[in-house]
Amino acid sequence: MNTLNRRDALRLLGLSTLGVAALAACAPDASGGGAPQGDTAAKTFGFTSWSLNEEAQKAAVQAIVDDYAKKNGVTITPTSFPYNEYLNQVTLKLRGNQLTGAIQLDVAWLGAMAAMGKLRDLGPVAGKGGYTDVALASGQVGGKQLGLPWTTGSIGLIANTELLEKAGVDGMPATVEEFEAALRKIAKLDGVVPYAAATKAAQLKDILPWMRTFGSPLLDGEEITVGDEPSVAAVEWYKKLFDAKLIAPDVDRFDARALFAQGKAAFYDDAIIARGVVESQAPDKTLTTKMAPLARPVLKAGDTPQALLWGHVIAVVEGEGADAAAEFASFATSDTATVASFFEKVKLPPTTTAGLADPKVAGDTFTTEWTEKITKTASANPFWRYAGYAQIETAIAEQVQAVLVGDASAKDALAKAAETAKGLQK
């Protein structure tokens, strides 16, 4: 058995070393660079989407993919990851040049993806799509159109009108003072959380629109203003609601939805998809008829209500199949029959003027009310332009949480958050 000669042994060792070298060569470039490769005119491309992983949207998205592939003689390879894992997976694959074609992105992620320098400028395609200005802006980074808007909406306040009536709240509160008064009335109802606001760090970025409501711009030019008087006042107010049990501890978006669906929360923050989510979770099947979107209360009458712009875009990775992928992205986001049918199935509002005017969309009261009361004045999170936006949001959220649990004063905590955030403005 041990009769192999030295030469054979060295050969085997050499092969092993080559194996290591080959594996190392296959490993992603440590610096994350590397030019896009492949035939841009290829008729085969990938489509990466988290919606293909979600039961409620899967069939509707797959129908768009199949329809386009059939009509245009192209082959589309779908890939999906769960939403919570999506950004990590897409980032790693894009970094390793393992992702081609079209990719669905949350508008919040576009800045980070743009920093990788691998997305195609879709300006020429966008020009012929008929998108609204707000929608187009949601897909722009650094003056380039890096994503075609698929749905544009906002994250705003939703009320359970039945609970408001029970508590004796007349009409929707329009100012912060009226809102707080309404919460105090609702607090008298047994087992009801007046406002299921985010209190877990994962979702405490929801406080940013309240900081804006109190007058903080969050970012002035390149200067982070978190920690200024208005933002401190907003956090102190939030803490006051927390201490008075008008908002509940240990709540993120999922908890808030569950509480609202059970009829145990009078207000909460969510995107327009809330109606579908609540409909699927609520034991009371009439609850969706009692849901009403409302403009975020303002500090003083005449102020502009604040809401966070939210939406999805389809971006295209430069390289293999990029031309066909760009055409697909345009079709999926701007073909009127397609977007109207998509709205009918999943209730995500389209982004084109023609799509919004389609009777299927325009005739939906909840959507039109949402658009009028919330999306109309919504604006993007100014930190999204930085690749490290998530860490900036986390830094702020963790400090706000420190205030809520009594570990720090609002002033000290936000000063610390701003200091951390400044190091992340890259």
Binding site: A9, A30, S31, G33, Q391, V405
Partner: protein, 279 residues
């Protein structure tokens, strides 16, 4: 043909394994350690050599609270299940019905993430079982003190069965004659435990304790699911901090530097373990 010596032949047999080790362990590890000396983002191309700046940043701030949290979690999630596991192992060895062994193993066979979600609902401040039973409205996961306790309780529930089984196996190798002889000499139960059981179990108990300590030092899923490292960073351990820095902040430089420091501490524990194992 020249014959290979036994040593050369041994190296030859090891070559594929060594190659794999170099490719999937050593190379990524070295690459990560090198990255700790660079300012490097997960999303921005390129990187810049910054020497020890990442380490200095960490040692000047985030490292110490994370180390404290990691030690608190590791100690709590090792000592409590160890004591519980030891007590149950003694009880089972003393004649507690055998079916209880299978029952006690139940939490251990459930996947860690499932266990974490189960306790997440138990501890939920607004609709959790615990508050329902106690008639309280405590935010178990929303306050620094109770959040760490909740995480430790969850981990204890998941890991005491393994310790119990290992310690029970050790107890069952103990010759009954030793106890009988001690009893004849007039030793009571406590004295027999102290003078017979403890010396016999010292070796296996130390190994079990050390292994659990090392695993807890690296533990991720329970903490991430229950608290995500919050509230206000109160349960942020090395595993969560490295994940957050790399995949939420996209900051590979600081993440790998923190990972390097974490690995150094683990190496110290490994030395203890290997020395214990060698005895």
């Amino acid at each position: 043909m020249r014959k290979l010596s036994d040593g050369q032949f041994a190296w030859l047999l090891m070559a594929p394994g060594v190659a794999l080790f170099l490719a999937i362990i050593a190379y990524p590890l070295l690459s990560a350690l090198v990255t700790g000396f660079f300012e490097q983002s997960l999303v921005r191309p390129g990187r810049e050599f910054v020497g020890l700046a990442n380490y200095a940043d960490l040692l000047g701030g985030d490292f110490w609270p994370v180390l404290r949290n990691t030690l608190v979690f590791t100690l709590g999630a090792t000592v409590i299940p160890f004591v519980l596991g030891y007590a149950l192992a003694l009880a089972l060895n003393a004649g507690l019905p055998g079916f209880l062994r299978g029952l006690f193993l139940f939490p251990w066979v459930i996947p860690g993430v499932v266990v974490s979600f189960l306790w997440l609902w138990i501890f939920n401040a607004n609709y959790g079982v615990l508050n329902g039973v106690l008639g309280t409205q405590i935010s178990w996961l929303g306050q620094p003190g109770t959040a760490m306790a909740a995480v430790i309780i969850t981990k204890t529930w998941a890991s005491f069965p393994w310790m119990m089984v290992m310690l029970l196996a050790g107890l069952q190798t103990m010759p009954k004659e030793l106890h009988e002889a001690a009893a004849v000499d007039g030793a009571g139960a406590i004295r027999r435990f102290r003078s017979v059981t403890v010396p016999h179990m010292k070796g296996i108990a130390a190994i079990v304790f050390l292994l659990e300590f090392i695993w807890n030092f690296q533990h991720f899923d329970t903490i991430y699911v229950l608290t995500g490292g919050g509230p206000a960073g109160a349960t942020k351990t090395f595993a969560v901090a490295v994940y957050d820095t790399a995949f939420k902040g996209f900051d590979l430089g600081h993440a790998t530097a923190l990972g390097g420091l974490w690995m150094l501490l683990l190496l110290v524990l490994m030395v203890f373990y290997l020395r214990k194992e060698a005895k």
